[in-house]
Symmetry: C2
Subunit: 445 residues, 2 copies
């Protein structure tokens, strides 16, 4: 008998690979943070002796969810100015609040709040784009969660950096610091084609190639930015990125709500990932991403929540449900984007996009033990004919019972083990008071 | 000081009338099942002495949610055959299962499961359409929840009734039995224009007028049924209903995903209510209801989940969120369907549609004390800038802590007080085993 750290015995295991598989009464053996075996319970009991054994009799185990697009610190701006036209929301509230408040403490407190929410919702890895990524990286490492920290880049100066050189310098220093970290890695995060000019984009492309890092960017979020690009550059943003050499398996193009057939082919041929953020696209009236058509074209599609200011949660279960429901109506076919495919988008496809396809995203031996357990015994998921269907169409975030990242149990029976919830909430309250007072004093645009 | 049954002290009270109001540190005084006063806490303590006093320090009180379209018993078929094309889903799975299983016990067990789910999600009143409504009525009355029981009518024989006469006879007997019941009332529920012919529809219209009862019907759910109607009747279904005299303030037209400008005017002028079921419309790829245009036209729009087989939950908080998010994208405007309007759809508009506008749907003196409390202190709804926004865009069903119907506390700290959850789940499991075996044995269509 082999000695291992942990044995998780579950009613169902949904490994994501192979597609659609559901294993009854199976167990995960975990040692030194990695999955050692996924086998039937009886066999697991014969083969392994574990220091910790956890029986999850009403639960499904899935790979930890990968949120492929967040601005985590924006949790502090959740719901500050909803139901406004897009430009009034941005220019009258979000941008002024960011100019006034964003700094190291804001990013620390907001990111910690976001991580607490994500863990309670079963997310174990997030791909973040925000200012002061060195703070987010420190918070994520401290919380034991997996982060792809965006080395942000934008044409104008902010509290974080004064210009392109400083953005690059700080980003690369961050990459240097974390390049051997087991949980945190970096990616380039040029904000969007309309906020980053050609020269820094060329530099990003060269560096991303050289360092073999992903590249995380908003692309074709709205029709307006496409029209603006045609005015300014004589071409659509995607074409511009293509000519700059940015389309590649390293690129995560976020949103992509306005994409024609030729562009879909271009994206597919280049190996670019699309990150679909359906709730943000709905809330900001950005448009409808044609997810099923993208999948049919062979594109890797991942899933993200976007920031809490435009969602207003970081709930990947809810995001899967919205994605699956919406795709059917957009595609005009009730069989579009089935539950198992949206679950892959929220796990393995996100992992692949981040260059972590061999490390996380499915429950396979040798991968890190990033695992989420959901209690499907609640009446909201009864009767239960199909665990994957139930997970996507009926389960709520409150049914996430336990979360492990690299074998460490970060959520235990719905309690956070590494984060101090009381303190996180106190700091959120303090920010709320300051931010609300300033927002009210600012008045209408 | 006046003696009352109950005083509820809440951090926020959101009465729905007037539109958008949020009252800080207010209290509801409840006596003999009805709201006696809604006043500031200090004043409440001076004016009333209560046998029960409940302090809800992190909570918002809202009117109990009104689910304006359900097939409650179908909870037993939740998730039985998802992600299939519409006709394969109906003809291969749902209809055969219904033919085989629907009877008094099925309706009893399924409706009880549904009521338990609805109460845990803050719903206090539901408008149901299913077979054996006398069983649903008995279950609802026993559970203490408010029901509008549909006197179902359909052209073909079922286990419930052999033909039009028997449907009418049973329906009217049910109405007679419950006409003075405080919680249960009846409405006519002819299934749809494509399943009920002109003669019984004329009879429904006369009876609904005579008895002053609402009329609950699927209308323009899909494009296909409109084309079929043009083939069979030479007109669109709504025009046919109009000529039959069915459009009136008594009619709840459910779905209405395909409606042109003229039809919207017709609906508005007649006072007909539209019941919007966004998640079902998405899941079955039925189309997009133009909710904001309907509201702009002056139409009363209510909200429903539809049955759990096409949703797959009865979560009205989730339904509000989907409705508000989707309306923005469909309307192309991030300010469409603001949170306070979708909350009115889920409460007062539903009450009005059912002829209960003076009885429930808002927190006003003299109305029944149908009240839902939500704990907004969870980290998923922090920080909190706007309680109504938070309720619609960030709160989850798990944040519903307490529910009262006519002053009776049916959910207390998330525990059902009148229903035996263990027994309900055991019966759901037994159905699951039988139904799944038969569905598997039936094989593909």
């Amino acid at each position: 008998m082999r000695q291992v750290d942990t044995l998780l015995h579950a009613r169902w295991v949904i490994p994501v690979e192979p597609r659609g598989a559901v294993l009854d009464h199976h167990s995960l053996a975990i040692d030194e943070g990695r999955i050692v075996a996924l086998i039937a319970r009886a066999e697991a009991r014969r083969s392994f002796q574990a220091r910790n054994e956890v029986a999850l009799e009403r639960h499904a185990l899935i790979p930890g969810l990968v949120n492929a697009h967040t601005h985590a610190a924006m949790n502090l701006l959740r719901g500050i100015a909803d139901d406004l036209p897009l430009m009034e929301w941005l220019q009258g509230h979000i941008w002024p609040a960011e100019r006034q408040w964003v700094g190291e403490q804001f990013v620390h407190d907001g990111t910690q709040l976001a991580i607490a929410e994500m863990l309670r919702g079963g997310t174990t890895c997030f791909n973040d784009m925000y200012f002061f990524p060195e703070v987010s990286a420190r918070v994520a490492a401290g919380a034991g969660v997996r982060l792809c920290a965006g080395m942000i880049l934008i044409d104008f100066p902010t509290a974080y950096a004064g210009g392109a050189d400083e953005y690059f310098e700080k980003g690369l220093a961050l990459h240097d610091e974390y390049k051997h970290h087991p949980l945190v890695r970096c990616c380039f995060a040029p904000h969007a084609p309309y906020t980053v000019s050609d020269e820094p984009l060329r530099r990003v492309q060269v560096l991303a190639d050289e360092l073999d890092l992903p590249l995380h960017m908003h692309v074709h979020e709205t029709g307006g930015e496409i029209n603006d690009s045609i005015q300014s550059f004589g071409k659509r943003p995607l074409q511009r990125l293509h000519e700059l050499g940015l389309l590649s398996p390293s690129l995560l193009a976020v949103h992509m709500t306005h994409v024609d057939d030729n562009e879909r082919r271009l994206v597919a041929d280049s190996g670019t990932t699309i990150v679909h953020c359906p709730e943000s696209n709905l809330k900001l009236a950005s448009g409808f991403c044609q997810v099923q058509k993208c999948l049919d074209a062979g594109i890797n599609v991942a899933l993200g929540t976007d920031g809490a200011a435009s969602n207003n949660d970081l709930d990947m279960l809810g995001e899967m449900r919205t994605a699956a429901l919406l795709a059917k109506a957009v595609h005009g076919d009730a069989s579009a984007l089935p539950a198992c495919d949206v679950l892959a988008m929220a796990t393995l496809n996100g992992a692949r996009a981040l260059g972590l396809g061999d490390a996380i995203g499915s429950l396979r031996p040798c991968k890190w033990a990033d695992v989420t357990a959901l209690d499907l015994g609640a009446l909201e998921t009864r009767p239960l004919y199909d665990p994957i269907s139930q997970l996507v169409y009926a389960a709520g975030r409150e049914q996430v019972s336990d979360v492990w990242v690299a074998g460490q149990r970060l959520l235990k029976d719905r309690q956070l083990t590494q984060l101090d919830l009381t303190e996180i909430l106190q700091r959120a309250d303090a920010w709320q008071a300051r931010i609300a007072a300033a927002d009210a004093a600012r008045g209408p645009v």
